[in-house]
Symmetry: C2
Subunit: 308 residues, 2 copies
């Protein structure tokens, strides 16, 4: 059963036991645009103890640079780009390092600027994504739209993620690329979260959008780059040899059992669930032993609070 | 194995054997906006022989009145409203007759005007659908949109079908109604075709759009009203007692094995596949005996051609 963090001794024990602290962002550090209590203080506490902190997020609408701006805007200072792992970055790295897609090939993007920026940073040209010529809502759907009629022969992969600017045209063009050349273009998903929490509501998640084009084309993604998939963990471990060698020196902190906690557990890390996101204490306590988080806490800021 | 219709004697035998001729529309009578050869002549031939003709379509973007206009525009005259069964009409009838939704309840529509018109004709008020306040593309998604923040308490059912004007807001609001009251609002799908053929391409079908909100809400539709589901066949049989009593006096003509042919077969009718739609002769001939169409023909107009 998961141990609840309730006092200073437990926090000191965590500080002794772990060197790497991996964090989910939304629901842990902030809720939408609201910083959660004593988050900067807790991060400072960890940095004072020379801990490595790593931020791991499935939200592909933002690039790592966008995340740095968000940290700064919310008053969390001193975070560097190499401490941030987003699903858009993980997907771009996958296309580059695993697929080894030649740089003269383009990537068709069903998604937003976060994905485009990370791909561009690795030297790829993107098609689709936030291109304003694909905005169609409010006018009749154009079955003769040039992007639908003539596919770009240089496109060598399809990358799909969360987009709040989807429409029938973008989905239908994505479908054409997925069907193209006997369904042979690689189909990559940033993540497959079915829901996207926003302002206290559950909205349509990346996985639900990807489900549309998957169902329509009769294909499933060849790779999923976000949590709980371990390709993101492997990238993190590649940058942090100490974590690779001794994963039990790492603690994954998140608010979702089926993504964050699974991600940490599958990577061999211990796990800490915070109740500021979508899970309830009741639900945490009824998890079977093999999937229960190692620890849970009311909020991340408790780590600071109990020490002061 | 399916018998190919190739001569006058076979056509005369069909005219002797069947009283009810059920037709899929797109791929059989027309392709998009192009009438297929000798379709009006074939329909006239059947009417001269006092056959009952019934048009059965899964495209929910049109109401029966819209279909009558399309028949007229393409030069097919003399069709009446009671000869047309669309999935939007079938869905409205389902909500009225099977669900028995009280008329003071509203229906949330993820779909187009075809659905709205049929529901209105049966006395229901709709929310969502083609409401222009839900157009959002080209502007930032508004998580505080009034339709998202405040659900309509009078909504008593969710009806989803094909829409070429979808966006993140409409999908997310649909999701809220599907989650509402512990997922208890009835969830009806007009049809679940994964693809929508248009201008020689396969675009996103109703089933793929419905898959998004189904995956996001963790629900499957409680009822699917289009072909091959038999609720549409039961409505047709209710209007045509002769077909109900002797289904083998009916012939279902269509261009899709998995919807049209299955629809006819499951209803106890014989079936005729035409090759003007999405199936190939090669594919028809390799169907196992239990699912092979009774007959197939190059085109519907052959029935007229062979007699002249």
């Amino acid at each position: 059963m998961s141990v609840k963090i309730t006092n200073k001794e437990q926090v000191q024990s965590l500080l002794g036991q772990y060197d790497y602290f991996l964090f989910d962002c939304d629901g842990v550090l902030w809720l939408g645009d609201h910083l959660l209590p004593h988050v900067p203080e807790t991060l400072n506490l960890l940095k004072e103890h020379r801990k490595t902190v790593i931020f791991v997020t499935n939200n592909s609408t933002k690039s790592r640079d966008d995340y740095l701006k968000k940290f700064q805007k919310l008053g969390i200072s001193g975070i560097t780009k190499d401490e941030v792992f987003g699903s858009s970055y993980a997907s771009a790295v996958y296309i580059d390092k695993i697929l080894k897609l030649p740089k003269e090939k383009k990537v068709w993007v069903l998604g937003e600027e976060g994905i485009e920026k990370e791909l561009k940073e690795l030297g790829y040209t993107t098609v689709g994504g936030s291109d304003p010529v694909l905005v169609q809502d409010g006018v009749a759907f154009d079955p003769e739209h040039p992007h639908l009629v003539e596919l770009d022969e240089d496109v060598g992969a399809v990358l799909a993620g969360l987009t709040l600017n989807l429409n029938y045209l973008k989905l239908s063009i994505t479908m054409q690329y997925l069907l193209k050349d006997n369904k042979s273009l690689p189909f990559i998903a940033t993540n497959i979260d079915s829901t996207f929490p926003s302002k206290g509501k559950l909205l349509i998640g990346a996985g639900s959008i990807i489900e549309t084009v998957a169902f329509a084309s009769g294909r499933q993604p060849d790779a999923v780059c976000g949590k709980p998939n371990q390709s993101m963990m492997n990238s993190i471990k590649a940058d942090n040899p100490g974590l690779r060698e001794t994963p039990k020196r790492g603690l994954m902190i998140g608010d979702r059992l089926n993504t964050d906690m699974k991600f940490g557990r599958d990577g061999g890390l211990d796990t800490l669930l915070v109740l500021t996101g979508i899970e309830t204490e009741e639900n945490v306590l009824k998890q079977p032993k093999d999937v229960a988080p190692t620890y849970y806490a009311s909020k991340l800021g408790d780590l600071y609070d109990f020490c002061n």
